[in-house]
């Protein structure tokens, strides 16, 4: 039983860490495109880890299916919204961040 609890804690903590990393990426990355990259990837994996971590607690088939459905829908929504933001940014010709050492004043949010 304790091994399961340890495994669950590991999954939950690493899931939460994924969210933290994604948020840091959102704040620190220089332009719209890289921010989308940080946010969508970290969120999908982070939520997945948390959901896998939650499944063994009071296991029931119905709750498991519901949790997996939530994960699926969130992945769909985050992929779609990430794509739409990038699409719109490209249509509006939001510039890529300049590489090292240049000023990046023209960042948009």
């Amino acid at each position: 039983m304790t091994a399961l609890v340890i495994l669950q804690s590991l999954l939950l903590i690493s899931g939460a860490l994924m969210f933290v990393v994604g948020s840091i990426g959102l704040l620190r990355f220089p332009d719209t495109y890289t921010r989308i990259h940080a946010l969508t990837k970290a969120d999908n994996v982070g939520l997945g880890l948390i959901i896998i971590g939650l499944i063994p607690a009071n296991f029931s088939l119905l709750v498991t299916l519901k949790l997996l459905l939530i994960w699926l829908l969130v992945m769909l929504a985050s992929a779609l919204s990430g794509h739409l933001v990038a699409w719109e940014a490209r249509a509006k010709q939001v510039p890529l961040a300049p590489s090292e050492g240049e000023s990046n004043d023209e960042l948009t949010d």
């Binding site: 829908l73 769909l76 929504a77 779609l80 794509h83 739409l84 699409w87």
Partner: protein, 318 residues
């Protein structure tokens, strides 16, 4: 541990509310307002009120957020919003701070000096629940014991949308928003819209014995309509104007007919016949869901109608 979660949530709510109020950019304020709605929903769940949490998430955060963003986009497009930053004038700020502090003090006073209620309302509700036709207390209160309030609430919603429609002078140009011709969006819609419709009907059906109900289901329906509208499939273009009006008024009409028909039968206003309460409540909620969905969609499309000045340009090009 639970205390820690509650304290974090409380600090988060206050911090987000403060950011939303103090932010210089209107866009940022709106985003933080939506965030506030979501955290408030979590707060309601922690307080054991899933009904209010659902309503807050669906209407407070979802629909209100969309309406606010929509209005902001409209203001930017028409140039009414000359610059994004704004600074409220000093006396107005002082007045706002003073009145909100007074309100908070009054609320705190009311919370700490609660008189012990003479009637144990929740016990009364519990006692009358078997006769109400549903097995969830909130739905029983909303659509049976205090259905008068709900009827008037729906009346207010209908009135709001009627005023909005009256202000919109030209019906043919109500959609200035071009649809998004994005293939991935359209592919995802075929998955998302059926899921949203099922969820909406589930919320409606669940309302009889657990959290849910017409308002939440209507908000979900409206979200599906708005998503379709944004991607270029416009319901208002598919339906005739008369059909739309019929849909807007359907919920209120059904409610009113059920309410007054009991007077004809010799019972007081809004008293359901014995045994038929459950069916009538379901009927009312079904009509209400459709109407609330259409009302919220109409409020959204009204905000998108072109400004009066640009109408003479004859830009009816779709």
């Amino acid at each position: 541990m639970n205390l820690l979660i509650d304290l974090t949530l409380l600090t988060g709510i206050l911090a987000i509310a403060a950011t939303s109020l103090l932010s210089r950019s209107l866009f940022q304020s709106v985003i933080f307002f939506i965030l506030l709605g979501l955290t408030l929903a979590l707060g309601w769940i922690r307080l054991g009120a899933p009904d209010i949490a659902l309503a807050e998430a669906a209407i407070g955060a979802g629909i209100t957020g969309v309406l606010l963003l929509d209005t902001l986009g409209h203001l930017k497009k028409t140039g009414k919003l000359d610059k994004d930053e704004h600074r409220p004038s000093y006396p107005r700020l002082l007045l706002a701070i003073l009145s909100s502090v007074t309100l908070v003090v009054l609320l705190l006073w009311a919370v700490f000096h609660q008189p012990t209620p003479a009637i144990q309302l929740h016990l009364l509700v519990e006692e009358a629940l078997p006769d109400s036709g549903v097995s969830h207390q909130i739905t029983a209160v909303l659509l049976n014991f205090r259905s008068y309030d709900t009827l008037l609430e729906v009346g207010v919603l209908v009135l709001a949308v009627l005023v909005g429609l009256a202000l919109q002078t030209d019906q043919h140009q109500q959609d200035s928003l071009p649809g998004l011709p994005n293939p991935l969006l359209h592919a995802c819609l075929t998955l998302l819209v059926p899921a949203m419709l099922i969820t909406s009907m589930y919320l409606l059906w669940a309302g009889s014995d657990r959290p849910g109900g017409a308002f939440q289901a209507g908000a979900m329906l409206a979200a599906a309509f708005i998503l379709l509208h944004l991607s270029g499939i416009k319901l208002s273009a598919q339906l005739s104007h008369r059909m739309m009006q019929f849909g807007l008024l359907l919920g209120f009409t059904v409610f009113l007919v059920v309410a007054t028909s009991s007077v004809i039968g010799g019972r007081p206003l809004l008293a359901y016949p014995d045994g038929g309460a459950g069916l009538l409540i379901l009927l009312i909620e079904l009509a209400l869901t459709l109407s609330i969905g259409l009302i919220l969609l109409s409020l959204f499309t009204i905000a998108n109608s072109p400004p009066l000045s640009s109408r003479s340009g004859g830009s009816n090009g779709h």
